[in-house]
């Protein structure tokens, strides 16, 4: 989704070009309050969306929830009771908000367990997978992006930019399926080297268990890194290219600094500013984007759970996970907003 990131940056540029907003006084507390209020509004927006999305669009929510299955009259009545359909709409909504904010999303149909339990059970697994992948693709993207920009137009740059764009256009689930076929199942003379899915093979304890999980982690992480690092690379590269003509770099070179130092000490810290925003947004997005990779690799995380919930469809679970994913994105965006002025004081002013 190249379209997502680049325009946002473009717009930021245009906004600064149109003239900085003039405000006086110590800016950060006010900026902080503004951003936190914004996050609260976004959270409310998510609540409203998840409420209306799953109740109003389909017509009769009970019919959607039961999805054409055979249900007895008592069960129907019980569902109506649970959803509070007899109450006026605003009461339904406030009830829903109250429950959602305390983490109560009802009971999953297929697991017959509270939705919140299923989510807390799966969350650590997702964090392990996305965390590992996130660290790797961010480091790889920044490293390759910096090198590409510094030597731009040369063969290495053209190769890496091309490869990043190509990998970016590849559906993650397809890459995952291919990796399983080639490296787990094995083709021709090539034996399968990695497990085909899941997170652990069984009863190992202690260090053996850690190794086993790491072994299972390889292919999903490789898939995620491959499809995600391109964006970081491209943004870092174009941010650094923007800095390349700057006078302060000429000054640094004129002082006689080595090329390497000019790059690391002077150019890269400035160029990383737009990348930082992207990094945080990516972190939120990866949690949501992991759905496909987890599905393909049967990883027992939130994404895999989402897929299981979709195929039933198990609406309380879908709803709870939808809220969870959206909250993750909002949280990360807010974090980016809060960290950014510490790196670039011009923003909060």
């Amino acid at each position: 989704m190249t379209a997502d990131a680049t325009p946002a940056l473009v717009e930021d540029k245009q906004r600064t070009a149109a003239g900085p907003r003039v405000r006086k006084g110590s800016a950060y507390p006010r900026y902080l309050a503004g951003k936190l209020a914004g996050a609260a509004v976004s959270l409310l927006a998510v609540l409203v969306t998840s409420f209306f999305l799953f109740r109003l669009i389909p017509g009769d929510p009970v019919k959607t929830m039961t999805g054409g299955r055979q249900v007895s009259a008592e069960q129907l009545a019980a569902y109506r009771e649970e959803l509070g359909l007899g109450l006026p709409l605003w009461r339904q909504f406030t009830d829903y908000c109250g429950k959602a904010l305390t983490g109560d999303f009802g009971t999953s149909y297929q697991f017959r367990a509270p939705v919140v339990d299923k989510i807390t059970e799966a969350l650590p697994n997702t964090l392990l997978l996305t965390g590992t992948a996130f660290v790797l693709y961010t480091a790889l993207g920044i490293f390759l992006g910096t090198r590409s920009a510094w030597r731009h137009g040369r063969l290495g740059d053209r190769f890496h930019t091309g490869l990043a764009l190509t990998l970016y256009s590849i559906p993650s689930f397809w890459l995952g399926l291919l990796l399983i076929t080639v490296l787990s199942v094995g083709i021709g003379p090539l034996p399968g080297m990695f497990p085909t899915g899941g997170m652990e093979s069984g009863d190992e304890e202690g260090f053996a268990h850690v190794l086993d999980v790491a072994h299972h982690l390889v292919l999903p992480v490789v898939t995620l890194v491959a499809v995600e690092y391109g964006q970081t690379l491209l943004v870092t590269r174009s941010a650094l290219l923007d800095e390349m003509g700057s006078d302060y770099l000429t000054t640094a070179r004129a002082k006689g600094l080595r090329d390497d130092l000019v790059r690391r000490r002077h150019a890269v810290p400035n160029a990383l500013l737009p990348t930082v925003t992207l990094i945080f947004i990516n972190l939120g997005r990866t949690v949501a984007g992991v759905i496909l990779v987890e599905t393909v690799f049967s990883w027992p995380g939130l994404g895999g759970l989402f897929y299981q919930a979709l195929s039933v469809p198990d609406l309380p679970l879908v709803q709870g996970l939808f809220f969870e994913f959206a909250t993750a994105v909002i949280l990360m965006n807010t974090l980016a907003d809060l960290v950014y002025p510490l790196l670039d004081p011009r923003v909060a002013r």
């Binding site: 989704m1 190249t2 379209a3 997502d4 680049t6 325009p7 946002a8 473009v10 717009e11 245009q14 149109a18 927006a45 998510v46 969306t49 998840s50 999305l53 799953f54 669009i57 389909p58 959607t64 731009h152 137009g153 091309g162 764009l165 190509t166 970016y168 256009s169 590849i170 559906p171 689930f173 397809w174 399926l177 291919l178 076929t181 080639v182 199942v185 094995g186 083709i187 085909t196 491209l234 174009s238 923007d242 939120g284 997005r285 949501a288 984007g289 759905i291 496909l292 599905t295 989402f306 897929y307 979709l310 469809p313 996970l321 994913f325 959206a326 993750a328 994105v329 909002i330 965006n333």
Partner: protein, 304 residues
């Protein structure tokens, strides 16, 4: 140019002439972007293939009952890409699938960009409470994770191509709206807008005659980029089993392959072609979009 001889050209002819000149200039600069040209060539080829697909493969290619081959055959002279679990010709299916994938990608992108442009232009032109409300709604959609929202929408609606188009279209427009609004604000500060207002030009006149032509290049670049992500999103929805089960699409083929056990059986010929098709088309649109973007806004430096 035809009316210029001797007399003063009419304003309309002048406008047309200028427009033709700018299209020619655009094309001249676009030709310098090599990656963009490759993308364009690939897209033209794919579009022709999709349009004329009925000439190469019959519309009964997706029929399960009178499939020509045996199930799960590997590639051979008769079936260059092998067959699926029903014995259908995979080459034919991939070619046929391009119709749905391209159509849905195009329609979803057009829907998305149309909503984004409408909201962006109006929010930039009418200031005050209307703009505030519109931008709040935009932010509202912007914070939702696109894919998750699209999946949730597709889950609660019935399985059909319309659902896929709508689910992608209504979740991807906010970036366009923000971009177009920023551009509209920039255009509206120019003197000729003031002149048009002084001469009595109404809101509609200013938006359609002065603002829209100026944001169109941006919209064009945005559309090209969004088609690429829309095609990927369509494949994703189909792969998750949320597409129309009655049509053949690339994402749907991959879902079929997975359900038929092609992954654990190592039947790579079933998995590779649909994925390559998705990647090639998505990449081609991205390359075109970046080329258009760097022609229109050289300062961006996306493909320097």
């Amino acid at each position: 140019m035809t009316t210029t001889t001797g007399t003063v050209p009419s304003p309309r002819a002048l406008a047309r002439q200028r427009r033709r000149a700018s299209v020619a200039r655009f094309w001249r600069q676009y030709r310098a972007e090599r990656a963009g040209l490759y993308g364009l060539a690939v897209l033209t080829l794919c579009a022709l293939l999709a349009l004329f697909a009925p000439l190469f493969v019959g519309s009964d290619v997706s029929s399960v009952t009178d499939a020509p081959g045996r199930p799960m055959q590997s590639p051979s002279a008769e079936f260059p890409l092998g067959t699926d679990q029903f014995g259908r010709d995979l080459l034919g299916l991939v070619v046929w699938g391009s119709r749905v994938s391209l159509l849905v990608g195009l329609l979803a992108a057009v829907l998305s960009v149309a909503i984004g442009t409408l909201i962006g232009v109006t929010a930039g032109h009418f200031k005050g409470w209307y703009a505030t409300v519109m931008m709040r709604i935009t932010d509202w959609f912007l914070v939702m994770p696109t894919l998750v929202l699209a999946i949730a929408l597709a889950t609660v609606m019935s399985r059909s191509l319309t659902t896929t188009v709508v689910a992608i279209g209504v979740t991807t427009w906010p970036t366009t709206a923000r971009l177009v609004r920023a551009q509209t604000l920039a255009v509206e500060t120019r003197p000729y807008i003031e002149r048009a207002q002084a001469l009595g030009g109404g809101h509609w006149h200013i938006m359609s005659r002065h603002v829209l032509p100026n944001v169109m290049p941006l919209v064009l670049a945005q559309t090209t980029l969004i088609i690429s992500s829309a095609i990927l999103a369509e494949a994703t929805l189909a792969f998750l089993g949320l597409g129309d089960p009655t049509v053949v699409s690339w994402g749907g083929l991959l879902q079929d392959a997975r359900e038929a056990g092609a992954v654990s059986a190592g039947d790579w010929w079933y998995l590779v072609p649909p994925g390559i098709a998705i990647a090639v088309v998505a990449l081609a649109f991205t390359l075109c979009g970046r080329a258009v973007e760097s022609v229109l806004n050289p300062r961006l430096g996306v493909s320097r």
